[in-house]
């Protein structure tokens, strides 16, 4: 309860500071002041990343934006005469009012979409539960399909709805999607001796069942897996749940982002490195003096 208040206050204070500094970036006439308010805005976003438990991103935000990008901006401002815009009398144009109106329209549409997302499932459902009661989630996921008395479960304030259960189970099965998680999972028999592609087929079949709005009680062995009974399926989902719990613990750390970056998103990562190389070469070419100016080196 108290942490909820602190979280809400931290969010609103940071959000107000970020929006105010963003407004100053856009409204103030002096580019140096704009750049300094931009730092403030970037720091505000970094704090929001911390609130979102994305600590790696918060560190990157401060290093990359507040550090590198801002220094670049300030350097260019120093290289360019500042009085340019201040000297020009800005005459009001109908285009500007139109631009502001268009931007406000875009904001309204986006906020509308955001509020359509504030369905019960995003307010009080599995999303929230994950933040508030990790031990309850752990208990539920490990409990899935089969009661386990040795778990020390905190008394439940409100029972999980069937939708939340299905969503948690689906997330658990999704957690197995990565090959390395699939390999690392401690499979019980009879899955240990199964070929990986067969396990993947079973995982997809169970996910398909959950997508058809089945309740957990309706989930049985899918077609093609006649040798499996309900206890086997429960063991399967429990293994998925354990993989999911490992994933939950790791969220937001450098290790988690790095693992994704170097496995599933290796190609985009390498493409980004090529983009950086292209940017370096391009900027060097742009910065070089024109040969006809006599400055060729």
């Amino acid at each position: 309860m108290l942490t909820d208040w602190i979280y809400a206050i931290a969010f609103f204070v940071t959000a107000a500071a970020t929006v105010a500094s963003a407004l100053m970036v856009v409204l103030h006439r002096n580019p140096v002041i704009n750049a300094l308010y931009l730092v403030l805005c970037f720091f505000g976003v970094a704090v929001l990343y911390v609130l979102l438990e994305s600590h790696f991103l918060a560190a990157l935000q401060v290093l990359l934006y507040a550090g590198a990008v801002l220094v670049l901006f300030l350097m260019i401002i120093m290289l360019i005469r500042l009085d340019q815009e201040q000297l020009i009398k800005v005459k009001p144009k109908p285009g500007k009012a139109l631009a502001v109106a268009a931007a406000l329209g875009v904001v309204l549409v986006m906020i509308g979409v955001a509020h359509s997302l504030s369905s019960p499932s995003s307010q009080r459902g599995a999303f929230l539960l994950q933040r508030e009661q990790p031990e309850r989630i752990a208990a539920f996921l490990l409990d899935l399909g089969e009661r386990r008395a040795d778990l020390n479960v905190a008394p439940q304030k409100e029972p999980l709805s069937e939708t939340d259960k299905v969503q948690l189970a689906r997330q658990a099965l999704n957690a197995l999607a990565k090959p390395e998680t699939m390999a690392k999972a401690q499979w019980p028999e009879p899955f240990r001796s199964m070929a990986p592609n067969r396990i993947e087929a079973l995982r997809k079949a169970l996910l398909a069942g959950l997508s058809r709005q089945w309740t957990l009680a309706q989930i049985g062995a899918p077609a093609g897996f006649k040798e499996l009974n309900r206890a086997h399926i429960a063991a399967f989902i429990r293994t998925a749940a354990k993989a999911r719990l490992t994933q939950l613990d790791e969220f937001g750390t450098t290790a988690a982002v790095g693992r994704d970056l170097f496995s599933r998103y290796l190609l985009p990562f390498e493409a980004a490195s090529i983009l950086l190389l292209a940017a370096i070469v391009g900027v060097l070419l742009l910065a070089r003096r024109n040969p006809e100016e006599g400055g060729s080196r």
């Binding site: 999303f127 969220f251 950086l276 370096i280």
Partner: protein, 104 residues
């Protein structure tokens, strides 16, 4: 009094507001450097939305995307500011109204 629970919609609304402010800046301001800052603002708001989705889905993928957007933004700032500097060398101005040589 029950506390206000900060949900996905709060973060997305904030992101939308930041995006709108950046958009107004990019469309209305005439100083090329400030326009660039506004574009950075818009990229940041998109990053915030990515991070919010990652958090409320508890999935690291969104953070990977934020990382990639940051890389692209860094490239864009470096190249864009170099272009602005080259323009200033040739035209002695960063006022976008005067930089209309490509307009037909």
């Amino acid at each position: 009094m029950s506390p206000i629970v900060i949900g996905l919609d709060h973060f997305l609304s904030l992101s939308a507001v930041l995006f709108g402010i950046g958009m107004i800046g990019a469309l209305v301001r005439r100083n090329a450097i400030t326009v660039f800052m506004s574009i950075e603002l818009m990229l940041n708001s998109v990053n915030l939305a990515f991070a919010a989705f990652a958090y409320y889905r508890w999935d690291t993928t969104g953070q990977v995307f934020v990382f990639l957007v940051m890389v692209v933004a860094a490239c864009e700032v470096a190249a864009g500011l170099a272009i602005i500097l080259a323009l200033f060398r040739n035209k002695e101005t960063v006022n976008l109204d005067e930089l209309n040589v490509m307009r037909w």
